[in-house]
């Protein structure tokens, strides 16, 4: 029997209501995540990375948004379409999330200890005292100095890096199988960023969690991830092991992302930006969404693109790179 993936997302579609019409911000995203594996979800702002994570947490809810289709299997259990009450028993217990903004993500009028302990009281039924004792141990694990005293302090008494450690302790409190990390180091300065990344890698190892790591920083990807999925305009356009994607990016968008990284060995280069803009949600083309900005645009780009294998566990959504069109794929599938 096949080992179940910790998280299996299939054809996820998430929509938001814009001026009375439902528009898809995530269009047919599929990936799976094993225990003790880190998948980096990469892409520019607004490409649907965070919305994907919030959908997996069940936090995209009417009237503003909805998960309109697809399935989300958490340890083999279908969670898409659960009621809010059912979601509340899963969130923070079997799936945890840390956010980008450590400065505003903690409640300013509650002690950090109580905020972490709250999850333990709710999900594990511990008393407040027992939960605080467990929280002290968690603070030790995420390397917060003098945890017993800091437990009783408020968020404003913590630095950004320390607050993010509190967030990590909170997300890990109930030992979830899956951790969603939405740009957890973006707001931190570089040295603190390295410490937090190191801590996350350690913790993943120790607890055998599956980590979905959302970032737009390819340097961070190289440091922490096993696999990468590149998102553009609500779709995964390329997916594969870190080594393959860094060595041979196939999709023109992935290549453009790499080209946009400034290089230390070429001091006088102009910074390379990708021309044009992401198509807005209400004007998404039928074909490749990147076509209008793509240097390799040609006939066939206006057709719907399919994500097909181009190597070992390496897939891309571009007929130029893969030679596959939607019609060819349909024939193949039959």
């Amino acid at each position: 029997m096949l080992a179940k993936a910790a998280l299996d997302v299939e054809d996820l579609r998430t929509e938001f209501r814009i001026a009375g019409t439902w528009r898809a911000a995530v269009r047919g995203v599929s990936f799976s995540l094993e225990r003790n594996e880190t998948l980096a979800l990469v892409g520019e702002s607004g490409c649907g990375k965070s919305v994907t994570a919030l959908s997996i947490m069940g936090l995209v809810q009417p009237p503003l948004g909805r998960v309109a289709g697809g399935s989300i299997l958490l340890d083999g259990q279908e969670v898409a379409g659960l009621s809010e009450a059912q979601w509340e028993t899963l969130r923070g217990d079997r799936i945890g999330m840390i956010f980008q903004e450590p400065m505003t993500s903690l409640n300013p009028v509650m002690t950090v200890g109580d905020q972490v302990a709250e999850a333990l009281v709710i999900h594990k039924g511990l008393s407040r005292a027992a939960a605080l004792e467990k929280t002290r141990a968690l603070f030790e694990e995420v390397k917060i100095p003098s945890p017993a005293t800091r437990l009783r302090e408020y968020p404003h008494q913590f630095s950004g890096g320390m607050r993010q450690r509190v967030m990590i302790a909170m997300a890990l409190a109930c030992e979830p199988a899956v951790l969603l990390a939405d740009e957890p180091t973006t707001a931190l300065d570089v040295t603190i960023q390295a410490q937090v990344l190191g801590l996350l890698a350690d913790l993943r190892e120790r607890h055998g969690m599956a980590v979905l790591f959302i970032t737009h920083n390819l340097g961070v990807v190289a440091q922490i991830a096993d696999r990468v999925a590149v998102m553009y305009a609500g779709q995964i356009v390329e997916e594969g092991p870190v080594a393959n994607i860094f060595a041979a990016p196939a999709h023109p968008y992935t290549r453009a992302l790499f080209a946009a990284i400034p290089r230390l060995d070429q001091p006088h280069q102009a910074l390379s930006a990708i021309p044009g803009r992401v198509p807005p949600l209400d004007a998404m083309p039928v074909g490749c969404a990147f076509a209008s900005r793509c240097p390799q645009k040609r006939a066939g780009c206006e057709e719907p693109q399919v994500l097909v294998p181009i190597g070992a566990a390496h897939r891309a959504r571009c007929h130029v790179a893969t030679g596959a069109t939607a019609c060819a794929a349909a024939v193949l599938n039959e």
Binding site: W87, R91, G92, F99, S105, V109, A119, I122, M170, A173
Partner: protein, 313 residues
Amino acid sequence: MIWFIAKRLLAAVPTLLAVLTVVFIIVRIVPGDPALVILGDQATAEAAAALRTRLGLDQPMWVQYWNFVSNALTGNFGASLVTGRPILEEVGAVLPHTIDLTLASMVLGVVVGVPVGIWAALHRNRAIDVAARVLSLIGLSFPVFVSGIYLLLLFGLYWRLFPVIGNADLSDPVDRLHKVVLPAVALGLTMAAYITRVTRSAMLHALGEDYIRTARAKGVPWRRVVWVHGLRNASLPVVTVVGLYVGILIGNSVLTEIVFNRPGLGKIIVGALNQRDYAMLQGLMVIYCFLIVVVNLVTDLLYGVMDPRVKQA
């Protein structure tokens, strides 16, 4: 915490001194010789000089200032020019009525305003929210002397549920409560309307914050998210506004006490104005300002208890 309270108390001292100084100056830059104003223009020069000596107006300015400030700080505001009784005694006799009215209105304002505000915020842009917003706008637009008269007409004259004259017997709590109902409703509903709007926007603001998303992400049930995480943060601006509004309530009691025929500070002020009782007015100005300073002090202290960030500052 003790250090925080001590600091706030210390900070109130300059405010009180400033209040006393301003009152002292206002009284002295008003044109006209107080002695002549008191005695009338038929008074002889000797009588005026004698009164000036009695009031201490012949002494150098700084001596007058020192006497005024030190007397005020020890609770000695002089005597009423009309009745001859000490001002503090006159005020003390009616203060319970004004405190009854202010407290009852405040409780009504908070008990009605906060839950309705939360309710409206949780049903944003739905019928309940729109109704709460429209009703609170109407409530805010009614001055006390209008709503008071309608309340008197309906509940006092038509249904005869409440008395029209509100001179309560201070030793009888039931009588005090019975007579404070109508004026407190008139004053309190305006406050409730205001508190509803403030609570609604504070709650909406709080519920849009990142820490609400964090709380939901760790599986906190929605009810607890609202009442613990949301309300604790939303209550900070509400407490500030309640504190400010208590000052307004004390001021508005002037109108309410006239409309409902209640004894109280406002009634005394109007009386003192009509009878040109300058000593009384000066004393009342100081007492009103003291009350406001005390209310602000309490608000500040409450804020320190509720918001851990304040103690640091």
